[in-house]
Every structure is written in C-alpha cells, then in structure tokens.
C-alpha cells in the first residue's frame, strides 16, 4: 500500500484529504507543520507528500527545501495552496515541488493528481 504524508496545520483539511485518500486505498499519515513532517520523513519512507504552504515554524516551501537536502529516497511532493498565481506556483517548483494544486481541491482532482504523481494509471 502506497504511503502518503499530509502536511497541514488545519485539522479539517487533513481529515478531508485523509478521507478521500483512504477510500482510494492509500495509507495516510499526518503532520502539523514542516518540522514534524521532516521528523516523520526521516523515520519512515513515504511515496508522496501533500503539503500546505502557510504553516507555523516551518512553511511548505521551507519543508521542501529541507526535504530535498535529506539523504533519503526522494519522492514526489504536491503543494496544496490557497494562492492561485503563477508566481506562487513557480516558487513551489523552485523549492522542490512536483505538482501544484489550489485549495479547495475536489476529490476527483486530488485523486487524479496523486495517481499521476505516483505513476499509476487512472481508471
């Protein structure tokens, strides 16, 4: 079972994404901010990261920059942001993101992106 780490400080958002992903057969873990996400990424491997931008202590971009420096197998990450401008998207890619979604994300949109990133064929 593929493992996904949800990184967001809003419990509602984590729960919403968790419900969608678990129903689609993924194993999901959560982190409240970038530092906790790094701790979890160092402790066990994930196949994909779903990352909010604005979080306390370590934001999504900061998390990705640190993640990409770690000596662990590098897996894809999707930034999930409230900001829809091109600048924001470019900043996400420069920080090491592989995908960019704007909140709120519909269930089908989320699953399409996740499957794409994981190299799975969408049904």
């Amino acid at each position: 079972m593929k493992r996904i780490l949800l990184v967001d400080d809003a419990a509602t958002v984590r729960m919403y994404h968790r419900d969608i992903l678990e129903c689609a057969g993924y194993a999901v873990e959560e982190a409240w901010n970038g530092i906790e996400a790094l701790e979890k990424a160092l402790q066990s491997p994930f196949d994909l990261f779903l990352v909010d931008v604005n979080m306390p202590k370590l934001d999504g971009y900061g998390f990705l920059r640190e993640l990409r420096r770690l000596e662990i197998p590098q897996m894809p990450a999707i930034i999930v942001s409230t900001e829809a401008e091109a600048d924001d998207q470019l900043q996400a890619y420069r920080s090491g993101a592989n995908g960019y979604l704007v909140k709120p994300v519909s269930p089908s949109q989320l699953l399409t992106h996740v499957r794409l990133m994981l190299g799975e064929h969408s049904q």
Binding site: A11, W32, I35, E36, Q43, K57, E66
Partner: protein
C-alpha cells in the same frame, strides 16, 4: 434515585466528539497525539481536572484550557498527561545516541584540544547530568583523550543543593546496572550516596532560561540536554528559550529533547537530525 443515576451525575461525561476535540487541541499544542487506545487514560485525567477546577463539565473545562490567559491549566494538564519523573538513565537511548553518534561527530570537527562542553537543563535533583557523566566514563572510549565539561542548571536553588549533595532513593537508581551502582554509590541507610569523583564531575548553576541576562555567560557548548522542560513553557517562553539555546550552542551543536517533545512545537531555529538511536536537533554548521 437509583445508584447509576447518582453515579452519572458525579462523573462528568466525555463524549467521543469531546475526546476528538481535546485530542486535536492537545496535539496542536504539544505534538502529543493520543490514539484511541489511550482513551481511558485521557478521560480519567480530564475528569480529574474538571473536578479540581470546578468547571462542572467538559465544555466549561475546555474553555478554561483554551482561553485562560496565563495558560496555567494547560501546564497542569500536560503535567498529568506526561510522566514527569526523573531517575538515573531515564530515556537511556539518548545517552547511547550521545556516545555512538553525537560525540564521534563532534570530536571529528573539533579543532585543537578544547574540552567538549555539555549543558543539562533542568538539572532537577541531578540524576540526568550524573547519568551523562557515568555513561561517558563507562561507555565512551574517547574519555581517555578528551576533556569534558558538564554544566547543569536549574531555576530552583533548593533542588540544586540536593543535586550537589548527590543522595538518592532506591527508586532513583533502580535502572542502573548493579556494577555501576556498586562502583559509584555507597548505601547509607535507605538511600544511596553518589561518590565524590562523580559529584565533582558536574558543575551546578542557577539559571532562568526565560531571562536573556541569565544565559549570557553560557556560550560555546557542543550539546544541550533539555528534556521535559519546554513542554511546560508558554509559547513566548519557549521561543525565548530556543533563542537562548541558539546563542549557547557552537555551530553544528546538538539539542536533545525529551521523548514526548518535538521541536516542531518549539522553534524553527534548529535542523532535524536522525541518528540510529534517536531524532535530535542541530544548529546548522554554517550558522553564525
């Protein structure tokens, strides 16, 4: 009136939704995530505090926890939800990490023969700094080549006096290997007295971590043990303490927190660092 009715009246109820609400709040504040299997443990303590604070029900108590300006009740509850006792070799995996992973790294980078400097805060009654000294003496080959300075601080001068005296209950030493116990302690009635050699190995000082003037003289440390202290601080005191640690540490220096603590709730100043034995935190090597 039936007995069961009386019972339900005297014990405040925690519903499933109440539990989830509390669980999320506590996780956000402390990083401690209670699984459903801990439900009984959590409920019992919540009920205890609801009674002690006369808040009558969960709703009233949660409002106190959430909005109290001093944050005192959250501190009280955190205390109850975490095991806060000190004894020799508590959280031993971190001492293993110190010897097997952290010290080799630090020694490799040290220029010249400056002593390796370790700060243990809070000192409490001394079990932790003495454990560090003993652990190094017994398990770290490098002790033959390097000078080590261990400084241990606390805000409470009474506890510092006890730490210097080095006298402990049987409970305090129960996790120590028998050979170490025999080597470093003598039995005095119902207690154990730590030997002078080890007592001399640690310098005890008084420090208030939230007061920048107090920490000004602490510089050039390689390792800080700060276990089970910051979790009880309010947000601003945590922030100030983390900034003090940043000044105290050499570039590349390490911080070890307690088992249930995470830097994710404290400060962005330090890097996460994974060793086989533990996750610790580090001031960046290039930091100035």
């Amino acid at each position: 009136m039936s007995a069961s009715y009386q019972h339900s009246e005297s014990v405040p109820e925690i519903t499933d939704e109440d539990f989830l609400k509390f669980k999320e709040f506590f996780y956000r504040k402390t990083g401690i995530n209670f699984e459903l299997t801990k439900r009984y443990f959590v409920d019992k303590r919540l009920v205890e505090r609801i009674k002690a604070t006369n808040t009558e029900n969960f709703r009233g108590y949660f409002a106190l926890l959430r909005f109290q300006p001093s944050g005192e009740e959250l501190q009280q509850l955190t205390n109850l939800m975490t095991v806060n006792e000190t004894y020799f070799l508590r959280e031993e995996y971190q001492f293993k990490c110190l010897v097997n992973s952290i010290l080799p790294e630090i020694v490799q980078r040290k220029k010249g023969r400056d002593p390796i400097r370790i700060w243990c805060i809070p000192s409490s009654s001394g079990e932790e700094p003495y454990s560090v000294a003993m652990y190094l003496q017994e398990t770290w080959p490098g002790i033959a080549d390097w000078d080590v300075e261990i400084i241990s601080s606390d805000i409470d001068t009474n506890i510092l006096r006890r730490a210097r005296a080095g006298r402990y209950s049987i409970r305090s030493v129960q996790h120590m290997p028998a050979v170490w116990l025999e080597k470093y302690f003598t039995g005095v009635k119902n207690e154990y007295q730590l030997c002078d050699d080890l007592r001399q190995a640690v310098e005890f000082t008084r420090v208030n971590l939230s007061e920048p003037a107090d920490t000004l003289r602490y510089r050039n440390f390689d390792i800080i043990f700060c276990r089970n202290l910051l979790i009880y601080f309010d947000d601003l005191s945590r922030k100030t303490a983390a900034e003090a640690f940043y000044e105290v540490l050499n570039p590349g220096g390490y911080i070890c927190l307690g088992h249930s603590e995470s830097m994710s709730r404290i400060s962005p100043l330090f890097k996460v660092c994974k060793f086989p034995e533990a996750i610790v935190y580090r001031k960046a090597l290039e930091a100035r």
